[in-house]
């Protein structure tokens, strides 16, 4: 019994020391990470719009993959925030739409996609395939609907995890009309 307690005590001591060390490092890095993420979000929201200023975030419930929306001052547009399902789990996607549901721009934010494959969705030009769709042109949701299917080879789950929410967002914005 004493022997077991001694082993448990040693394991608990090592766990406690580890937790203490991580707590100290976390207290130093957490504010830096929070500031960086807030700056990245602000920059991403601004880059999604050619004109206008994004308003405050409004959380949405029961809207499927659409988790939040931002109204836009000075332009007939909405910005939507989605959580899509990628190969590596949840992917946070931001997209701007005009009032007709046409996609103006898209950016992939937090994700755990595979480096060199799904991660290519973060690269410049990847989202071009979606821009201008959603209004009169349907949002491409399968590889076969793309002009260059090879672009998403090896990462079709990532592509589908972005495309499906974007299509959903287009329908959502169309349903809103110009009601801000």
């Amino acid at each position: 019994m004493t022997d077991t307690m001694e082993k448990a005590g040693k394991l608990a001591l090592i766990c406690a020391l580890s937790a203490l060390l991580l707590g100290v490092v976390n207290s130093v890095t957490e504010p830096i990470i929070a500031i960086r993420k807030a700056a990245e979000l602000k920059a991403a929201l601004e880059n999604l719009l050619e004109t206008g200023t994004p308003g405050p975030r409004e959380d949405l419930e029961d809207e499927g993959t659409i988790k939040a929306r931002y109204s836009v001052t000075g332009a007939d547009a909405w910005i939507l925030e989605f959580i899509g399902m990628g190969y590596g789990g949840d992917m946070k996607v931001l997209a701007s739409y005009d009032f007709n549901g046409e996609i103006q721009d898209v950016v992939l934010m937090d994700n755990a996609e595979t480096p060199g494959l799904g991660k290519k969705a973060e690269a410049d030009g990847y989202m071009d395939k979606f821009i201008g769709t959603g209004g009169t042109t349907p949002v491409p949701v399968t590889k076969n609907e793309l002009e260059a299917p090879d672009e998403v080879s090896g990462a079709t789950i990532t592509f589908a995890g972005i495309a499906a929410p974007l299509k959903e967002g287009s329908a959502y914005v169309k349903a809103l009309g110009d009601d801000k």
Binding site: E6, K7, K10, L11, I14, C15, S18, L21, L22, V25, N26, V28, T29, I32, I33, R36, G88, G89, N111, A112, E113, T114, P115, G116, L117, K119, E122, D150, S153, G154
Partner: protein, 207 residues
């Protein structure tokens, strides 16, 4: 010196010991990922080997595996937090693979096979040797896969350099399968055969 150089060829963790193959296959699509992953592994390997070596007489044999895992997970979480705070681009690029260093067989394998039986100085040399061997192997796989599979060499962007070197000819017509999962197995298989050949040559046992 032999302790330091053994990880490159004779006991290369990827090609000879066959350790750490999962991250080697997964992150070797770009050279920059290999460099970042290797830096993380070297840091964790050094930290865990030093701690395991220091605590080897304190840790009872019956609980040594959970203790090693706690030590390794602590260093991995440190790397993850520091990367997120100070190297966010690299952290984004490596994604989940940073956390997966916890279950990298090289780290636990060296703690179990070497650091728990040797002093701090030798454990540091072992960590450096294995870490640099992993770096060498992973970078070699990534270089071959990225050049053939994408026609590029991706490094860290610096100043006006965007970090991407394009290989004429291959960038227009890459052998795309090499950058996919099957290509990783092809490349590792051929490199393994080459390392077997090198290490089995007569008179070269001491490399």
């Amino acid at each position: 010196m032999r302790e330091l150089t053994k990880g490159f060829i004779k006991e290369n963790p990827i090609f000879i010991l066959m350790l750490g193959l999962c991250p080697a296959l997964a992150v070797s699509t770009q050279v920059v990922n290999a460099l970042g992953m290797s830096a993380g592994v070297i840091f964790v390997l050094l930290g865990s080997n030093i701690m395991v070596s220091l605590l080897k007489n304190f840790i009872p044999d019956e609980i040594h595996i959970p203790v090693y895992i706690v030590i390794i997970a602590t260093f991995v979480t440190l790397v993850d937090l520091l990367m997120q705070a100070y190297a966010p681009a690299l952290s984004r690029s490596l994604g989940v693979f940073v956390q997966l260093i916890v279950v990298n067989c090289i780290i636990l394998g060296r703690a179990e096979a070497f650091a728990s039986k040797n002093g701090v100085k030798d454990s540091i040399m072992d960590a450096l040797s294995m870490g640099l061997g992993f770096f060498f192997g992973l970078t070699l796989i990534a270089l071959i896969r990225e050049v053939l599979g994408a026609g590029t060499i991706t490094l860290f962007p610096m100043g006006n350099f965007n970090g991407v070197i394009e290989v004429p000819g291959l960038v227009q017509a890459p052998v795309r399968i090499i950058s996919l999962s099957a290509g990783a197995l092809f490349v590792v298989g051929y490199l393994k055969a080459m390392f077997n050949w090198i290490s089995s040559r007569p008179g070269k046992e001491e490399i």
